[in-house]
């Protein structure tokens, strides 16, 4: 006969002894027995002096019964009532002993604590100050590393550098092509609609040319590379932290800054200006496609007008900016990677914050350049 009864528990008081009768099938999948009735029994009068068990009608059991019994003994202990486990099957008895063999470590339990506002402001401020100090010392260390590079004393693997150049140069071309062509097209569209009102469609070439070369070429490439390469740097270096590869460098007296950060920074400084010039050209081509296809300009007119509008100075300014953006992307990516914690989610956070801080740094730098170039009259 298969018993189908689920967990059953009943209480009985005999001369101050609380007899807990356990019966039926106790299985985790069928749920736990409620302990509310138990609390009530303890609150009732007369006072209980001892807890005993009757398990004669117990069919089979798993840890669900242990969970219930642990609650019983906790409740009893809080009230100073002794528990007599004699009535329990020996298996349950032994497992309960095992669960209580190692006492709870003092202070091990972490309680969610709601910090007062002032404390949170204070911790927040200290954290900001701490990360500012970290940033400064990282930038300082990198400056020293670059000095060592120029004095030919920096140690890194040339093969690493070539691989990185490959990754952040040629391999980025398809996405840079797509995005900058579309940016050129969009700029041309916006300009065309406005300039048509004055019959000045020809100046679309000026608009697209100057905008791409001065700002958009460098910025779009930079934002792309922050998402593509900055995140990759952070993830690579973060993972190396998890696997102790960074520690392995340090204990050999090799600087992770020279071995990991330096080649990445150099690769981006070298590749960003090239990508930027390429993006400028593709963007202008995008503008030309609209100019020729929609505004009935000829290719020659469009090109002549662009050459006329864009000065070498504009081009140099854009290229210079892209180099600076390259440094920012590389440093943001590598710093976040080096700051990463040692869990998989920490590496994910590092990659995310590399992209965020990279893009923020790019936009801020772009603003600073705008003001400086204006003041210098470039």
């Amino acid at each position: 006969m298969r018993p189908t009864v689920t967990n059953q528990v009943s209480f009985e008081r005999v001369d101050g002894v609380l007899l807990v009768s356990l019966a039926g099938r106790w299985q985790l999948r069928r749920g736990l027995a409620s302990s509310e009735a138990l609390e009530k029994e303890f609150q009732g009068v007369p006072r209980i002096v001892r807890v005993a068990f009757d398990a004669k009608r117990l069919n089979d059991w798993d840890t669900s019964i242990l969970t219930f019994l642990a609650t019983v003994s906790d409740v009893a202990r809080q009230r100073g009532v002794p528990v007599d486990p004699a009535g329990l099957p020996p298996g349950i008895h032994r497992l309960l002993d095992l669960a209580e063999a190692v006492p709870e470590r003092q202070g091990a339990r972490q309680e969610a604590r709601h910090a007062p506002l002032l404390e949170r402001i204070g911790t927040g401020t200290l954290a900001v100050a701490g990360s500012a100090r970290e940033l400064l010392s990282f930038v300082g260390d990198m400056a020293i590393t670059f000095v060592r590079l120029f004095r030919m004393k920096a140690r890194y693997r040339a093969s690493d550098l070539f691989l990185l150049i490959q990754q952040c140069g040629p391999q980025a071309l398809p996405i840079v092509t797509l995005i900058s062509f579309l940016v050129g097209v969009i700029l041309a569209f916006v300009g065309a609609v406005q300039l048509k009102q004055f019959g000045a469609q020809l100046y679309v070439a000026n608009l697209v040319g100057v905008a791409m070369v001065r700002e958009m070429g460098a910025m779009m490439t930079a934002i792309l590379m922050a998402g593509r390469t900055g995140a990759a740097f952070a993830a690579q270096i973060g993972t190396m932290k998890v696997t102790q590869e960074i520690d392995a460098f340090t204990t050999l007296g090799l600087s992770p800054l020279e071995f990991l950060v330096l080649p990445r920074t150099v690769a981006l400084i070298l590749m960003m200006p090239l990508l930027c010039v390429y993006a400028d050209v593709v963007g202008i081509a995008g503008g030309a496609a609209i100019g020729v296809g929609m505004l009935d300009l000829s290719w020659t007119t469009y090109v002549q007008q662009t050459v006329h509008a864009v000065s070498m100075r504009d081009l140099a300014g854009g290229v210079f900016k892209s180099g600076v953006y390259g440094v920012l992307i590389a440093l943001a990516g590598c710093l976040r990677g080096l700051q990463s914690g040692t869990s998989s989610s920490a590496v994910g956070d590092a990659a995310t914050s590399a992209v965020v801080s990279g893009i923020v740094a790019i936009i801020v730098a772009c603003g600073v350049f705008a003001v400086v170039f204006y003041v210098l009259g470039i």
Partner: protein, 260 residues
Amino acid sequence: MTQEAIAAGTAPHIIVRDLTMAFGSFVLMHDLTFTINHGDVFIIMGGSGSGKSTLLRHLIGLMEPARGEILYGAINFTRSSGPEREQILQGVGVLFQSGALWSAMTLAENIGLPLEEYTDLSPAEIRDVASLKLALVGLKGFEDYYPSQISGGMQKRAGLARAMALDPRILFFDEPSAGLDPITARLLDELILELRDSLGTTVVVVTHDLASIYTIGNNSIFLDSDARTITASGSPQELRAHAQDAKLRSFLTRGGTHNP
């Protein structure tokens, strides 16, 4: 320090004085004082979470002591910097818990990198040295494998080959037998003893593997996570025979069974 003293195993190699390890305001261990002699196989014992690996990270300079100092021979490692520190570190090899091989490089390149940086050997010679080190740990023929292509136990042995690349005077092992099958673990123990006997390498091992503690250790300390300091030191065999401290006895006898 004389050659005789080194040979007799009484010349101090690493001296730790009043070392306190802390994370922020949380003190993990305090007032650790011990000496590791030349040619010792020195075991750092203790239960899980007692700070064994953290102590090792202090000894190899990955963490700075909250208080106290670490001396390598006559040089104060804690206060050293620049070339002095680099020189000490070049005499040190570390086998990390997970092997920590550089995953972007082949095994030969992993072992070759320290040699490239610190010796004048030609690339062909470096490759020969790397092959020899791999052969010593039983990985002959695996020169051109990447770490991800070999098993965890093999990564660990390759990690040892890299730690031995520069023939360090002192080798640190963080849980060497963790994740190894019993036979490989025993081979590793034999290799450790062989390195000590033939090259005179000082070996510092963080472990709680009793079999290897008794096989290789000739000196040890026991970190007690409740007392937060060293509660016993000496040769593991003697500690097992004479230890009074209940916690240490239970550790050394696997909680009471007398034949670990």
